[in-house]
């Protein structure tokens, strides 16, 4: 009797434990060696139905509405019609999500690992290295030999192509690039007595303006510079790296082949963070909250944040009066923007006084696609001049194509600003597979300095993680 109960309990227990273990360890199959897609994926005979799927971290009416609406309303019907004209019966589905980028990335990796996933999908350029190393994605010309002959490459500058390349091989077609700078709210500035054409020339100028807002405009968070692990890559791209290049160094120095470890420059950045978030200039709650970036967007659109470091994505995807997540009807008159200054004039990389960081995503072919020819036709169609023009639809956006940029450049003041002022100063993130892990270590360090750790402790801890990731030979420390 007792023994039987014992067995029953043990079974329940083991079941619970094992379920948890499997749930937490993800898929349990060994890394699959995928068959070469080009041989497996012969095109279907004309007329028989083909189904293609596009995946993107975008949903109609939500995150990245512009892209989702474009795919649904333009790409799919137009492409299907074009294929029908060639006698091919192609149906395209859109698999859109609206989650944090890190979650989208995990979903993508799990899909590709199991040999499934959409035929064409969006990816951030900084993920290319680690996905390529894992054999989840393949160079375009290995999936579709014709890819190198695409006429669109001539319209995409090499720096932008490099975003979607790894070790000199193109893995996808870029869908644009971006730049980082400071936004500010002009009516908050007016209340604080600050100029509408504000241009800080040092970090101290930013802090001084924030202090003025703090004392003169109660109820407004003066300054948000992204920090912490909850914001993910936004912290590194919008906060840490623009600050770091303002101290005169790049995260990875190509000439010495070293990453920045516990250096004075890293400590300078951490000190800035500490100052912002422990003296009431920035709101640490936003940085630590689960949906902090959304909250910062929302508060900026409601005049509750004075100065915010962001990319042009916010202008077109968030506070855009048409189709933004947090639309600002008076965006064009209310919102000011200015270049991110170096720590002091002339202290930035290459002796610059103003700095920026750029990245950008693109679209990749799934090596497991059953219809590589048609998937490539879809991918290249989405990056054709007509399609890209349709995508921008008069909105501010640095596209991947020079011919489109020159046509729409003057239509928007912010677009002009990014293209002519920000991009010439910008630095791209290191295209290494290990970069996302280094980035996470930086995010953690930026959070620890305002959660109570000293700058030198946080920098030491970051340095230790970095040494584990890239080896002591590739870490620069000291000044």
């Amino acid at each position: 009797m007792n023994a039987k109960r014992h067995v029953a309990r043990m079974t329940v227990l083991l079941a619970t434990a094992a379920l948890l273990v499997t749930a937490c360890s993800g898929s349990s199959s060994p890394p699959a060696t995928s068959a070469p897609a080009s041989s497996a994926g012969a095109s279907s005979p004309a007329g028989s139905p083909i189904t293609l799927t596009i995946a993107a971290n975008a949903v109609v009416g939500g995150k990245s509405n512009q892209e989702a609406a474009w795919i649904t309303n333009y790409v799919i019907p137009t492409f299907e019609k074009q294929m029908a004209a060639q006698g091919e019966n192609v149906t395209v589905n859109f698999n859109g999500t609206g989650v944090a980028d890190e979650q989208y990335k995990a979903q993508l990796a799990l899909d590709l690992k199991s040999g499934s996933g959409a035929d064409v999908f969006d990816m951030d350029g900084i993920w290319i290295g680690e996905f390529a190393q894992a054999n989840y994605i393949k160079p375009l010309n290995q999936i579709v030999p014709a890819a190198d002959g695409w006429d669109g490459w001539a319209q995409i500058t090499p720096a932008v192509q490099a975003n979607m390349s790894y070790q000199g091989q193109r893995y996808g077609i870029p869908s644009g690039t971006d730049g980082r700078f400071l936004y500010f709210n002009k009516s908050v500035f007016a209340k604080a007595g600050l100029p509408a054409d504000w241009q800080p020339t040092s970090w101290q100028d930013i802090l001084t303006a924030a202090q003025t807002i703090k004392s003169k405009v109660p109820g407004v968070t003066p300054l948000q510079i992204d920090a912490g692990t909850a914001m993910g890559e936004a912290t590194t791209a919008q906060g840490f790296l623009p600050l770091l290049v303002g101290t005169g160094v790049k995260l990875y120095d190509e000439s010495t082949q070293k990453w920045q470890g516990n250096t004075t420059q890293i400590q300078d950045v951490l000190n800035f963070y500490k100052q912002v978030y422990t003296t009431g200039l920035g709101d640490p709650q936003i940085q630590l909250a689960a949906k902090g970036r959304d909250q910062s967007f929302q508060e900026f659109s409601q005049e509750k944040i004075g100065i915010l470091g962001e990319s042009d994505y916010m202008w077109r995807g968030v506070i855009n009066p048409t189709g933004g997540v947090d639309p600002m009807q008076d965006r064009n008159t209310e919102v000011g923007w200015t270049l991110m200054p170096a720590m002091t004039p002339g202290s930035g990389v290459n002796g610059q006084s103003f700095v920026s960081i750029s990245g950008g995503g693109g679209r990749v072919l799934n090596p497991n696609t059953k219809y590589p020819k048609e998937a490539w036709a879809l991918l290249s169609f989405m990056a054709s001049k007509d399609a890209v023009l349709q995508y921008t639809n008069g909105q501010a956006q640095i596209t991947q194509r020079n011919d489109v940029n020159s046509q729409i450049l003057s239509s928007d003041p912010l677009l002009t600003f990014v293209a002519t002022k920000v991009l010439p100063l910008t630095v791209y993130r290191p295209g290494f597979a290990v970069y996302p892990q280094v980035s996470q270590a930086l995010q953690l360090a930026s959070q620890e300095v305002f959660a109570g750790k000293s700058v030198s402790d946080a920098a030491t801890e970051y340095n230790n993680t970095l040494v584990q990731l890239v080896g002591a030979d590739h870490v620069a420390s000291g000044s």
Partner: protein, 291 residues
């Protein structure tokens, strides 16, 4: 004397009936568990070179975990969460409700049960959203009820918030189980005790609790394990702010599926499995001591 043919037939029948179940358990429980133990010995990652070519690194993941202050923090947070929300919160409140309302019958009792069970059956994602809306600093229902206060509940009291949340969410199970157990008390015992002048507290201490001790322990075993492995708080706080609600399942999720360290995540999962076994053994010891 039993017929040997009949015994053999019975054995064969038992094997035939058990085989499918045992196969299922082997494929879906035993194999993944063993595979997890193996993965925990490797540097396997979701992306990068280690995704294609993982290496066995021995016990490095385990030593890394034991040396990681974040792991120690996570273990501590989990213990507080289990103690606060399962043992004190769900079991305590569940028993209190069952005891106080044990003589209620009819529509009032049904209404109470429906209320409590509602919290239990709503899907986690929906419940998480409701609680985010409830506790929001600027537009939250709770702050509005407090006269437009702007208390950042999830920021200033994150662990307490998810403990209260999980108590609210899971009390139904304990209440139903204890309610059923209390119904098995022979009314004559309580009646006799009352006539002998025993107070309500004495009836509870000397009659009810000893009689349903087995139910209490079984309930504690189940809800402790569930809470230990509960992932719902992640939907509300994502383990933050600054890891204040970083329970072990969240820690595993962060390392395995946000940082992509599948090998490390598997090692921690194995540690979690060990902790679960220890909890279970302690409770079973207590149960056996009873009989």
């Amino acid at each position: 004397m039993s017929d040997p043919n009949a015994t053999a037939l019975r054995t064969r029948g038992a094997v035939a009936f058990l085989t499918p179940a045992l196969l299922l358990i082997a494929v879906f429980l035993v194999f993944p568990a063993l595979w997890t133990l193996y993965l925990g010995l490797t540097d396997y990652r979701l992306t990068g070179i280690q995704a294609a070519y993982p290496h066995v690194i021995g016990l490095n993941n385990y030593t890394a975990a034991l040396g990681d202050p974040a792991f120690a923090n996570s273990l501590w947070v989990t213990l507080l969460y289990v103690l606060g929300s399962a043992v004190i919160g769900q079991a305590g409140l569940g028993f209190a409700l069952a005891w106080i309302f044990r003589r209620w019958r009819g529509p009032a009792r049904n209404a109470l049960e429906v209320l409590v069970i509602t919290a239990w059956i709503i899907p986690s994602s929906v419940v998480a959203f409701l609680w985010i809306a409830f506790l929001d600093t600027r537009q939250g229902t709770l702050n509005a009820a407090l006269g437009n206060a702007a208390i950042p509940w999830l920021f200033s009291w994150p662990l307490l918030s998810i403990i209260v949340f999980n108590t609210w969410r899971g009390t139904a199970f304990s209440m139903l189980l204890f309610g059923g157990a209390l119904n098995t008390l022979p009314p004559s015992h309580l009646e006799t005790a009352r006539l002998a002048g025993a107070s309500s507290w004495q009836q509870l201490r000397d009659i009810a609790l000893p009689t349903i001790r087995g139910h209490i322990l079984t309930n504690l075993l189940l809800i402790s394990l569930w809470t230990f492995n509960d992932f719902t708080p992640y939907l509300i706080t994502a383990g933050g702010p600054n890891f204040a609600t970083d329970t072990l399942p969240v820690y595993i999720f962060r390392n395995a599926l946000i940082n992509f360290q599948l090998g490390y995540g598997a090692a921690i999962s194995a540690i979690l499995l060990g902790i679960n076994l220890v909890i279970a053994l302690i409770y079973m010891r207590l149960l056996r001591a009873r009989s």
